[in-house]
């Protein structure tokens, strides 16, 4: 179990989480190396299909990181994202994937420390859960 | 009595523009005798602005003021409350009102009598005169004896050469009032 190197995808809004990752970098904060960032124009762009695809491909955890509530660069994209994530948690639960493998976080672009903390916490959480129940094969088919 | 507003009279006599007061209460917060004051310093200033002379002349605060000028140092409107207190004190004495802390003017008077008479103050002399007037002999008795023993209080007064000049200064001052 100790050798388990989870694959984690973080969909990061350009205006907050991506910027916070840069701050974490310039401050040389050290955090868990398992997270792969995907830059998004806004957390509101988060697409249910893409997230489900990520789990299908074998991601052990996925999170979406957007601006603080009320602070969204695009006014309310992060609220939409939150709703979608909450909905998707139910969907994956029905597919037999622990809903804790999907999360939504809010942070501001200056919070390098918070970015690192989230990466650490989430990685820790996924390590505890172990590898995704989806090993190989397809549980979900998308036609897009 | 003049019908002029108290704040105007005080402004004329002391140059203190009390109507500038914000009521910010800095003076009261910093005043060392606030804890003992029946009317707080900012309230004194406020009562001047409200033309409430009687209340002011009867309060303890004006006599307690130690003239330390902490209020003036910190007042954002540059009001020197100690000068207002001084003005109220002399007004109280002039108007012969019942003074809330009678010992204090007696103390000042005893001191000044000594100066008027001798040109300098004779500590043992004025203190005992004060104690007689206020019937407070026993207070600090031990301390006084100790001071005498240590040569700090001389029993015999000395007088300056030109003591008449001092008396003239005092009489000029009386004319001022």
């Amino acid at each position: 179990m100790n050798n388990f190197k989870p694959k984690i995808i973080a969909f990061c809004c350009y205006y907050c989480a991506y910027a916070a990752a840069d701050v974490a970098g310039s401050l040389r904060l050290q955090y868990a190396p398992e997270v792969r960032l995907i830059e998004m124009p806004c957390s509101g762009r988060v697409d249910p299909v893409v997230i489900l695809k990520a789990f299908e491909e074998g991601a052990d955890g996925v999170y979406v990181a957007g601006c603080m509530e009320g602070d969204c660069h695009f006014l309310k994209g992060n609220i939409q994202a939150k709703k979608r994530v909450e909905h998707l948690q139910k969907v994956i639960a029905e597919l037999g994937i622990e809903p804790e493998r999907l999360a939504m976080y809010n942070l501001s672009g200056a919070q390098g420390d918070r970015f690192a903390e989230i990466a650490n916490q989430f990685t820790e959480r996924i390590k505890k859960l172990g590898p995704s129940p989806i090993k190989e094969g397809e549980m979900y088919n998308d036609n897009s | 009595m003049s019908t002029e507003h108290l704040s105007t009279v005080i402004y004329q006599d002391t140059d203190q523009q009390v109507n500038r007061c914000y009521g910010c209460m800095k003076c009261s917060g910093g005043c060392p005798i606030s804890f003992a004051a029946d009317i707080k310093i900012h309230e004194i200033i406020r009562l001047v602005n409200l033309n409430q002379l009687d209340k002011l002349l009867q309060c303890k605060t004006i006599w307690l003021c130690a003239f330390c000028k902490t209020c003036k140092q910190r007042c954002p409107n540059d009001i020197d409350s100690s000068l207002v207190m001084d003005w109220l004190k002399s007004k109280a004495l002039r108007d012969d009102v019942a003074i809330a802390m009678p010992n204090i003017p007696i103390l000042y008077q005893s001191f000044l009598q000594s100066v008027e008479k001798l040109g300098r103050v004779h500590e043992a002399g004025w203190i005992s005169s004060y104690k007689i007037k206020t019937k407070t002999y026993s207070n600090d008795l031990k301390l006084g004896l100790k001071m005498i023993r240590k040569g700090k209080l001389k029993l015999l007064p000395g007088r300056i050469k030109n003591y008449q000049q001092i008396r003239k200064i005092f009489s000029c001052a009386r004319k001022e009032l």
Binding site: Q30, R36, I38, P41, E57 | Y22, G29, Q52, R74, D78
Partner: protein, 1007 residues
């Protein structure tokens, strides 16, 4: 007429300077932005969050700074000062001295190796000296330009930095240089400085470690600050449990050489904000703010303060005389008075609400450019417009004109820009620079040919990540033509090489594995354009900030992550489509709704700039509320001002005024709007224009409280203006009472009407002038004569106007005594006396509310109003004059209650904002925007509801259409669309899925 120079120098790199610079650059002028610091940002860079939205200051500022430094028409000069200005408006020559950075900006990559090597540590002034930095340093992590600099005074000359810098950027021999720059106008925005509270020893700053200034506290709250965002006592690093804020430190204080009489205007709110943020960090911290008047006069400020109180922040109305320290615990104690009692309390930390001062360089700057300063040392400006200085062609903005918060600063930056645009209207566009690019190659139908460039960033990346193995792996991906590595990809040489490689290998797509898209994407996009490749055909993998810097101890994993990120970038870039920006023409005319002082100012500015303006006023005359004001304000007679402006408006050939008219329809897109305007209730005209500015103003609320309407001796403040105009107010009066905050700042109208305190004070002074022995009482909750208006408040007190504070529990009472007689009763907390007085006249400071019909107009234009009915701007801090719909702008009392000077500033500022649009013959639309696949669209309207800007709309065939000009590119609609009918370019569904897939297996073109 002599030819004018189409360039402007902006002095000061704070938010005011950046705003002025970007408005000017965007509207066709060449800008020289000079600042005496190492980075852009100014005071805002030191702040953590900003009131009243609690947004992160740096998040707001970061994009602004990068934007200013990337804009081709802004030449940024750091460590620079203007020392001389010769010539006249339109044709100035500015002499600028650039002090050396000792680091070659063109070479430095911001890697920080030099600072790691530097052996000398000094106090970090940026962090309020609460931490240390090296002698070679970057001002703050997000500094722009992202370059290092040497603090030469402290340098010991050890040359370690020189050796450490692989880019060979450090140059200890750099000398100051003087440059002469031809310009047409100057905008001065050197800001203000925080007052040095250690000069007031009674508060103990600099003597007692646990007393800090508000700037230091901001730094502590900031996650990039000296304590990493943790509130710690400087003495022992303990987390404080009790914090006191002391207000008006060094402001509203005329006692000695260190004080100033004005109110610094921002500090009440800043302290409330800092208290709120501190409480967010640690909800159980006990926080008390000691204040005199809570000056929460701005838009949404009172709500903010009320929320703070609900969250447990304690407000105590009492200034503090002195702070004492317990030398054993470092705890601090202070006395305050409450209802006549003297209370003493102990705190773990004390924060001083230090006010502001004009910048220390103000005197020298004024001499150099030949302008006058006012008695406080701020820029002396024209009585009727605070952007106009004493020298023609020199304009002032921001804190330099007087205390201001951020949105006011931004508005004044725009206003100064507008003034310069007016002066240089004929030269607009003459010096505008645009880069020459080769024609774009057409790759249609070609397979992807991807080139991967992996950066070593000196040893920043290569020191941790195994760059050769990343290159090796990348070479193997399908569609990848080749991979190359560079020591510094962003250096001029490397960029040149990249272009050559692209051309040689006929690459049509590029991946750069280096640093952040936030700082470097535009640079590499430019390289693509120069190589004839569509600038959107690039993807970056951030293998520095996200790998080498943050996983130093696990180089293998860092390398693996770098490889993954590159694979993911390649997978995504394969599907990139060349995006074209399409030009759409702009009608270079504006419509202004509302002919008050705001609307007239905007109209005149645009007209002076050469644009045609339609001014729509529903009354038969221009001037709005100012027609009703009588008293002079800052030396300005409002009626006079209205008359002058109205004449100018009426006689200006570029302005067409429509009286008695209202707009009845609104359609089109930015740059091309159409409206029907009903004139005189009958005629309807159709007007086409490119931008619209709302200036519909405010009105006095109709009052019910305090016997208004029942007793003829109770009048409103507007009625008082009329009385004073007729000079009869004082006749036969003995006692006049002003009651403040009537129907403002209460349930249902939880805001401050902002103009009433100062107006009542002026009215009281005017009455005193008419009849010096008149008894005047002003019953107030907080006297809000913020900023330089504080002087009027002092004058009124000196004249004997008696101010009595009241609160909700002790509201004043007014009784009719039959006939004309009235009696007022009030409790005076400052003397603990009940005051009962017969009174002859009562003046109610009634609330200001949005003018009638504002809501209707908002619905017509599909723009939002807030719960109070005022228009809601795009962004409360940085876009105060823009409305969320592109092409719509806002100014004046319709935005929020404000005083004449502020209205004029906003009016002019809105003109600059509109000019950024109107100055362009066409708009470039497209890029990263959403588009609808009509075939898939089920017309479910999910997107219509999801879009934060209300842009998707039902169009032809009942299908949704999205205007590429209006779309902001957030992708919320695309994420929401249940049929996946909406694609956000660059983030299309298949691009994202492929990017995800690439983490697990190689993605090829054959899936």
């Amino acid at each position: 007429m002599e030819k004018k120079t189409g360039s402007v120098m902006v002095v000061g790199g704070g938010i005011a300077g950046m705003q002025a610079a970007s408005d000017l650059a965007e509207s066709g002028f060449l800008v020289y932005l000079i600042t005496n610091e190492d980075s852009l940002g100014g005071l805002m860079a030191t702040l953590d969050k900003t009131f009243p939205t609690n947004e992160c200051s740096m998040c707001l500022l970061g994009p602004r700074m990068t934007g200013s430094s990337n804009e081709v028409n802004i030449n940024l000069l750091t460590r620079a000062e203007i020392v001389n200005l010769q010539g006249e408006v339109g044709n100035y020559t500015a002499e600028v001295v650039r002090k050396p950075r000792y680091v070659d900006e063109s070479r430095c990559t911001g890697c920080g190796q030099c600072a790691e090597a530097c052996p000398v540590e000094v106090d970090d002034k940026f962090n309020g000296s609460l931490s240390k930095r090296k002698v070679i340093y970057k001002q703050f992590p997000q500094a722009v330009p992202n370059k290092y600099a040497i603090d030469m005074e402290k340098c010991i000359g050890c040359q370690k930095c020189v050796k450490a810098c692989a880019a060979r950027a450090v140059d200890h021999q750099q000398q100051p240089e003087t440059i002469e720059i031809p310009i047409g106008a100057v905008v001065l925005a050197p800001g203000f400085e925080s007052f040095d509270a250690s000069l007031l020893g009674e508060y103990g700053l600099g003597y007692y470690p646990n007393v800090v200034s508000n700037i230091q506290f901001e730094r502590m709250l900031s996650s990039t600050g000296p304590t990493g965002g943790h509130i710690k006592r400087p003495l022992d690093g303990e987390a404080p449990k009790r914090i006191a804020f002391i207000q008006c430190v060094g402001s509203r204080d005329c006692r000695n050489k260190h004080g100033v009489e004005y109110c610094s205007a921002y500090c009440c709110m800043a302290s409330v904000k800092e208290a709120v943020i501190a409480k967010e960090h640690h909800p159980d911290i006990e926080i008390t703010i000691f204040f005199l008047d809570m000056r929460a006069y701005g838009k949404n400020f009172d709500r903010y303060v009320n929320r703070a109180i609900n969250d447990g922040v304690i407000l105590e109305r009492s200034l503090i005389s002195a702070v004492k320290e317990d030398p054993v615990t470092g705890n601090l104690s202070l006395n305050h008075c409450k209802q006549g009692d003297l209370l003493s309390s102990e705190y773990d930390l004390v924060v001083l609400g230090a006010g502001i001062r004009p910048p220390s360089s103000a005197g020298q700057l004024a001499d150099s450019v030949g302008i006058e300063l006012d008695e406080y040392g701020f820029a002396k400006t024209d009585a009727s417009s605070s952007t106009i200085t004493s020298r023609c062609g020199v304009y002032a903005a921001g804190g330099f004109v007087g205390p201001k918060d951020i949105p006011e600063t931004v508005a004044s930056g725009s206003a100064a820009a507008a003034a310069a645009m007016e002066a240089l209207a004929t030269a607009r566009g003459t010096l505008k620079q645009s880069k020459e690019y080769p024609p774009e190659k057409d790759f249609t139908g070609q397979d992807p040919r991807v080139g991967v460039f992996v950066c070593c960033c000196g040893s920043n990346i290569a020191g941790v990540v195994d760059v050769p193995s990343v290159v090796r792996q990348a070479t193997g991906f399908s569609d990848v033509v080749g991979a190359w590595s560079f020591t510094y990809s962003c250096s001029q040489e490397s960029l040149q090489q990249i272009r050559e490689i692209i051309e040689k290998h006929q690459l049509n797509r590029v991946v750069v594995a280096a640093c952040s898209v936030r700082t470097h994407l535009s640079l590499f996009r430019d390289a693509l354009r120069l190589a004839g490749v569509n600038q959107y055909n690039i993807e970056m993998a951030n293998i520095r900030d996200q790998c080498s810097w943050v996983h130093r101890s696990t180089p293998d994993q860092a390398t693996q992550k770098a490889k993954d990120l590159v694979a993911m970038a390649v997978a995504k870039v394969r599907l990139h489509k060349p995006l074209q920006l399409e030009p759409v023409t702009v009608i270079q005319k504006a419509m202004v709704v509302g002919g008050g002082i705001a609307g007239m100012t905007t109209a005149l500015s645009l007209a002076h700039q050469g644009y045609q303006v339609y001014l729509i006023e529903r009354q038969p005359e221009l001037g709005g509320m100012l027609n009703l004001l009588h008293l002079k304000q800052k030396g300005v007679d409002p009626k006079e001002m209205v008359r002058e402006k109205a004449n100018e408006v009426i006689n200006h050939p570029n302005i067409k005024v429509y009286y008695n008219s209202e707009i009845t329809s609104f359609s089109g897109r930015p740059g091309n709007f159409h409206s029907l305007v009903k004139v005189g209730g009958k005629t309807v005209v159709e007007l086409n224009y490119g931008a619209i500015i709302l200036a519909t103003g405010s009105k006095e609320a109709s009052l019910k409280d305090y016997l208004y309407g029942q007793h003829k001796q109770v009048i409103t403040r507007m009625e008082m203006e009329k009385y004073l105009a007729e000079n009869k107010a004082a006749v036969g009066l003995n006692t006049v009472v002003f009651i403040q905050c009537v129907e403002s700042r209460q349930q249902g109208r939880e805001y401050c009407s902002r103009t009433c305190c100062s107006q009542s004070v002026r009215q009281a002074l005017a009455l005193k002038e008419l009849k010096p022995d008149l008894n005047i009482y002003v019953l107030y909750r907080d006297i809000r004569t913020y900023g330089l208006m504080e002087r009027d408040y002092r004058l009124a007190r000196e004249e004997g106007v008696f101010f009595i504070n009241y609160d909700d529990e002790n509201s004043p009472l007014l009784q009719s005594e039959g006939g004309d007689r009235l009696l007022f009763k009030a409790y005076d907390p400052a003397s603990r006396i009940d005051i009962k007085q017969p009174v002859d006249l009562v003046v109610l400071a009634g609330a200001a509310t949005p003018s009638d019909g504002a809501k209707k107009l908002a619905n017509l234009l599909k723009v939002p109003v807030n719960e109070d009915g005022f228009f809601v701007e795009t962004h409360a801090k940085l876009a105060p004059l823009d409305m969320p719909s592109a092409g719509v702008f806002i100014c004046g009392a319709a935005h929020s209650p404000q005083n004449i000077a502020e209205v004029v500033t906003q009016g002019r500022g809105a003109a600059a904002r509109a000019a950024t649009l109107l100055s362009k013959p066409y708009l470039m639309a497209g890029g990263t925007v959403a588009s609808v696949n009509a075939e898939k669209c089920a017309s479910c309207l999910t997107c219509v509801r999801a879009c934060p800007y209300g842009i998707p709309a039902i169009g032809k065939d009942n299908k949704v259409e999205i205007s590429p000009v209006q779309c902001q590119g957030c992708g919320t609609c695309a994420g929401a669309c249940p049929n996946k009918a909406i694609a956000l370019e660059h983030y299309r569904g298949e691009q994202l899925t492929d990017k995800v897939r690439a983490l697990f297996r190689e993605v090829t073109g054959n899936e």
